[in-house]
Structure formats: structure tokens, C-alpha cells
């Protein structure tokens, strides 16, 4: 069954993806193509800000957000199906990013857990706790990427998780919306 988290429904999501301002799709190998993350996020940011007035600041914010989203998608991609699809929709008052990747059930459940935590807890203390735990248990991943962008840039995040028949894999879509003043 498809899981929806956050406040964006199916029809809205479909409409968003039909006509995107920009989208980019590529198989990305975690170990080999890491630098491409930064390259792609800077490009999306540049593309987006060329129509803005306060370019420098917005570029920095957008690049930071997209980079975390792509890193997140890349780290949580199932190794044999590592294509990542990134969508950008430039609306009048908000910028919407959607990242799409294939993930295992475990990974998808982790995401659901994180997003559910957001509803109830103070995000800042969640981040600080994760930082502390990270050192204590010497975790390999930082696990604060999504939390950080929600907390720092007043973005809202929703997600759609669609199981792929007869596998333990899912299509994970993360929808990030950022309001802007211009």
C-alpha cells in the first residue's frame, strides 16, 4: 500500500510532476559518483536563481537544500537500481523539489520513522541528540540531513512511498517545499 506522509496529496503531486521547470535523472553510484551530488545541486541552484533578484543568498540556500536531498536519495538508494530523479518546480511563491529513488523496505521504514518524529518533537533537540548519539555510537551516517534543512530553512517535507510489486523495494519520493519572498 502506498504511504503518504505530510500534507501533499496524490493529485497535487501528479500535477507537479507533469510540467516541471527542470528535472534531471541519472544513475548515481554512491562510491564513484559522489562529487556529482555537489555538481548537480549547484547547477539546480544556479538554474533556479537566474531569475531571482537576491541571487547569492538564495543560491546558497538552494544549493544546500538540494545537496542534502540528493545525498539523502543517493545514500538510501538500492544498489542495483540507483537511478535518482530530481524535479524542480518554480511556483509563484514557493520552490518545490522532488527527489525520487528506489529503496528497500528497511530504508523506507527509517524514513517514515524520521518523518513521524518531526510531527511530535522539537526538531532542534532532535538534531542535537542525533549529533550526540552519532559520536557515542560512532555511527557511519550523520542522519541529520533532512532534519537540518527542515529546521534551518523553513521548508516543509512530505513523502510518498510506493511499494514495487513482488519485491521488497519501494519508490521513495520526497517533496520539499520552500517558500520565498520574491
Amino acid at each position: 500500500m502506498t504511504t503518504f506522509l505530510g500534507n501533499l496529496d496524490e493529485s497535487k503531486l501528479k500535477k507537479l510532476k507533469e510540467k516541471v521547470s527542470l528535472s534531471f535523472k541519472m544513475p548515481i553510484d554512491h562510491s564513484k559518483d559522489w562529487e556529482k551530488c555537489s555538481l548537480i545541486s549547484n547547477f539546480f541552484a544556479d538554474y533556479c536563481v537566474s531569475s531571482f533578484y537576491k541571487k547569492k543568498e538564495i543560491k546558497s540556500i538552494l544549493s544546500t537544500i538540494i545537496n542534502e536531498l540528493i545525498e539523502n536519495a543517493m545514500k538510501h538508494s538500492y544498489q542495483d537500481q540507483n537511478e535518482i530523479n530530481i524535479f524542480l518546480k518554480n511556483c509563484e511563491k514557493e520552490i518545490i523539489f522532488i527527489t525520487e529513488n528506489i529503496a528497500t523496505n528497511d530504508t523506507a521504514n527509517n524514513l517514515i520513522h524520521t518523518l513521524n518524529q518531526l510531527q511530535t518533537k522539537d526538531i532542534e533537540s532532535l538534531i542535537i541528540n542525533r549529533m550526540k548519539n552519532n559520536l557515542m555510537y560512532n555511527q557511519e551516517q550523520s542522519e541529520i540531513g533532512l532534519l537540518n534543512i527542515i529546521h534551518n530553512f523553513k521548508t516543509s517535507i512530505s513523502a510518498k512511498i510506493t511499494p514495487i510489486d513482488k519485491t521488497n523495494l519501494n519508490i521513495v519520493e520526497i517533496i520539499t517545499r520552500l517558500e520565498h519572498g520574491q
Partner: protein, 173 residues
């Protein structure tokens, strides 16, 4: 050789590029940087790619018929062959014009006389781009379109496929 392959697809709205012309150049440089990132030695290829993709984007923005539909640009590189596919909408009369123009340029290439294309009216700047692509980089160009047109103004989904062989891309100066 998996290490040497690269494929990606980009979707965009031509209107977004019209409103901010720089986006064509920006996108081409981004695409080319994906190439150079893959292999240090491929600086030459990446510069050619930036040049070619920029021309593709400029073309669709200037002549593309449905500005509010998503256009796509696909790049596929396996070993030496790089294929760039551009999918967009064009009026049938422009497709025919482009096709006959292409034939003319192949002829000009044979006769080694390209002065005439510098001053043509339609697709003026494109002449040089195509000439350079087939002459300087030994590339090949194919134009396909779907379904039969009813009349000259029918808008058709069009595909331009560009092929480059990096063996032909040696910088010999």
C-alpha cells in the same frame, strides 16, 4: 566498460530558458562537467559537449513550437560513442527546412565552400553549428518526427539525434 559510461536525462521548459537566456549556457556547462568529472582525460570531449549541448538548447528555445511542454535532452556515452538526443516540438515546414538545410550543408562540406551559409536567412547561425559539428568533430545528425503531418503548420514531436565518436575528437594542434 561500466566505468566509462554515463547517461542522464534532463527535462526543461523552453519558456524558462527564454526568460533567462543564460540558462542554456549554464545547462550546457553543467552537462559537460558531468563528462569531465568521469574521466580527467576527457577535457576535450567535455568542451565539445558543452558547445554542442548549448547549440541544442538554443535551437529549441528559438524554434521550438510548444513552449509550455517539457522538452528533453538525453545524453548517453558508452566507451567512445556519445549520443545526444533532443526531443521537442517543431512545425512540419521547419522540419522539412531543417532537413533540406542539413543536406545542403553536407554538400557544402564536400565542396569545401561554406561562405554561403553565413548569410542565409532562416537558421543562419545554425548553419555554422551544423557545419562545424560534421566537419570539425566528424559527428552525425539524424532528424526524426512522429506521425504524418496534415499540413505545413502541423506541430510534430521531433527528435534530433547527434552522434560523436571520441576517437575522432583528438585535439591535433
Amino acid at each position: 566498460m561500466k566505468n566509462n559510461s554515463l547517461n542522464f536525462q534532463m527535462k526543461f521548459l523552453p519558456t524558462d530558458i527564454i526568460s533567462t537566456w543564460k540558462r542554456a549556457s549554464l545547462s550546457s556547462i553543467f552537462c559537460s562537467s558531468l563528462f569531465s568529472n568521469n574521466q580527467q582525460k576527457e577535457v576535450f570531449l567535455s568542451n565539445v559537449i558543452a558547445t554542442v549541448i548549448n547549440e541544442c538548447l538554443e535551437l529549441v528555445v528559438k524554434y521550438g513550437a510548444k513552449k509550455t511542454e517539457n522538452y528533453t535532452l538525453t545524453c548517453n556515452k558508452t566507451n567512445n560513442i556519445t549520443t545526444i538526443t533532443l526531443s521537442f516540438f517543431l512545425q512540419f515546414q521547419q522540419i522539412s527546412l531543417l532537413k533540406s538545410y542539413l543536406k545542403k550543408i553536407y554538400l557544402i562540406k564536400k565542396n569545401n565552400n561554406f561562405e554561403s551559409i553565413i548569410f542565409t536567412k532562416t537558421f543562419a547561425e545554425l548553419g555554422y553549428a551544423i557545419y562545424s559539428f560534421i566537419e570539425d568533430y566528424n559527428g552525425s545528425i539524424k532528424i526524426d518526427y512522429e506521425k504524418k503531418p496534415r499540413n505545413v503548420t502541423t506541430i510534430l514531436k521531433t527528435q534530433i539525434t547527434l552522434n560523436l565518436n571520441s576517437k575522432d575528437l583528438k585535439n591535433d594542434y
